[in-house]
């Protein structure tokens, strides 16, 4: 996982509420067994029409958004299906961070596990940023170390959960981290299953047919 410390780039505004992961990564792109080839799937049905032609009115298709690095989004972004392909597609397309007021919970966990930064700001601050960007201040720097957003002349701070911040900055292998506690897990499991023997693994049974 690539770490996130400080990134600068273009920001695209997509202010609608409840933009779900079906829209972020349509089902046609979910048939792989690896993580590759998902950049083309990102917002596919918004970026392209039924004939495959580019929809010029979609924000990411605007010439000045060719290398968008951040999205400014509406509430409950990434709700719906658990498909992590939505996050993989974002990163493969080049999106490094999202600024919004709230996110689908599974999407947020997926983002944290892959190094995609999600910032949660109060609705009014998201609106203020959107208003600023309309004025042409299209570039933004997000400094995760200093916990601040820089847009042109303005600098604003943000809060972020310290554990998520650390994992993002270091690009940590979370499984490796957890396995450092393997002895604790094993001891817990043994005591837990002894206390609740009905939870022991059920054997195969063919009564259902």
């Amino acid at each position: 996982m690539k770490g996130f410390v400080r990134e600068t780039g273009r920001v695209a505004a997509m202010p609608g509420a409840n933009i779900d992961t079906d829209v972020i990564m349509p089902k046609a792109f979910l048939k792989g067994i690896d993580r590759s080839g998902l950049a083309v799937g990102l917002f596919h049905d918004l970026r392209f029409d039924e004939t495959g032609a580019v929809r010029s009115d979609f924000i990411l298709n605007r010439p000045d958004m060719a290398d968008a690095r951040f999205l400014l989004v509406g509430p409950n972004f990434g709700c719906g299906s658990s498909r992590e392909h939505a996050v993989w597609g974002m990163l493969q397309y080049g999106i490094r961070g999202i600024i919004g007021s709230s996110y689908g919970a599974i999407f947020a966990d997926n983002a944290a596990n892959n190094g995609l930064l999600l910032l949660s700001l109060p609705v009014a601050e998201v609106a203020a940023l959107a208003a600023q960007l309309k004025g042409g201040a299209g570039d933004m720097t997000i400094d995760l170390e200093a916990q601040r957003i820089e847009t042109g002349a303005q600098i604003a701070g943000f809060d972020i959960d310290p554990a998520t911040r650390r994992a993002l900055m270091l690009g940590l292998d979370r499984i490796g981290e957890t396995l450092t506690h393997a002895d604790r897990i094993r001891a817990f499991e043994e005591a837990y299953l002894a206390r609740k023997p009905w939870l022991m693994d059920a054997g195969s049974d063919e009564r259902l047919s």
Binding site: L30, S82, E84, F107, I175, R184, F188, L199
Partner: protein
Amino acid sequence: MSAPKTLYDKIVDEHRILSFDESGGAGERLLLYIDRTVLNEYTSPQAFSGLRAAGRTPWRPAASLGVVDHVNSTNPDREAGQLDDGARRQIEYLGENGRDFGIEIFDLFDPRQGIEHVVMPELGLVLPGMVIAAGDSHSTTYGAFGVVGFGIGTSDIEHLLATQTLVYRRLKTMRITVDGTLAPGVTAKDLIMEVIRRIGADGAAGHAVEFAGDAIAALGVEARMTICNMAVECGARVALMAPDDKVAAYIEGCPRAPSAGLFARARIEWDALRSDPGARFDKELSLSAGDIPPMVSWGTSPDQSLAITGRVPDPDDLPPERRADAVRAMAYMGLAPNMALQEIAIDRAFIGSCTNARLSDLRDAAEILRGRKVAPGVRAMISPGSSHVRSLAEAEGIDRVFVEAGFEWRRSGCSLCLAMNDDSLAPGERCASSTNRNFEGRQGIGGRTHLMSPAMVAAAAVTGRLADVRTLAAAEPAR
């Protein structure tokens, strides 16, 4: 005496291996033991590839079950069902992963195959007090058994397989109390759609929602599963109900349920699985069941729903922050402001999905269909929630009711709920659907979905438009 606790906190505390911050409150970061998971063919492949790449093996393979449900065809002739190359590869890879890592897999031809959230409970693998995380957002379904169930992405599936744990953040709690009695023709689906309409698509975000009240207690276990299943559509990460005698009776005798002696011991613990009197919730909401009408969605988010007797809203009457989304949804759905919902004609009708394709759902729909015919021009399909549900329905003759009414009696799978198989809507086609999501493009690019209960889908199928099931239930069908 310790402070009163919520059911959610009791279950989390039982599964806490260690706490990274020892805060104990909402937001506490901890390592959580996971009892079971169920894997499907489309969110698990990259997790297994990750294990292989890192040279890791599953911590406790017998705590996992794999099922094929999302990409398979529901063609009644399984051998003839269309599978594209990607789907075929995903199904093969799930089988290969099961063999290589010692995980039991129900493939397409297994008599126990079906949708993961239908299969797990019917086997007796879902037991009160468990924590079950799985790579599907509707894992909240298990809450009907007093289980902390939640959806995870593929990286967390890999983490769970490798460690039998997840790094977890304790949620805030919310209680939704529903008292009174549901009116005739009104179901659990209508109840949860009303909750979602009221609080919005993110109204329970960050919360574990406990459903309580005598209206919930009066429901059967399958109806409760419908509510917990769809709670994710108002942002709930976890939905919970205190287990009772009905839950125990549902589990008892299932193929994988604990044997009699252990079952009796388990019951003693299950009886304590309820929120203590005086337990504090971060949010509370109360509803009166008797006020809830049959519901349908008109828009492209599950909170864009109304009573079937209502009209498509006029965006000018909506709060400013909801206007732009409503205008966009209306354009996508091909609807005009103030249209009566019952004037909306449909092309397709679908009964299926992890929300509403259990035996009780099929019985509800069959009751409306008995002696009636699907309206001309409507293609109606039913895909039972599992192969087991399908055979139970056949044993009691419900399949004949569907077939005689003009429904296609399909095989089991997620099918048209998310249309990863060959069952999708064509652009512009409008579907009355017992599923859970009306998102843009969900059932096919340009497809238009109206969510409702299975009985309401049956009513729409026979009238050819969105219809109030109560008027049909009252009328005696021609026989």
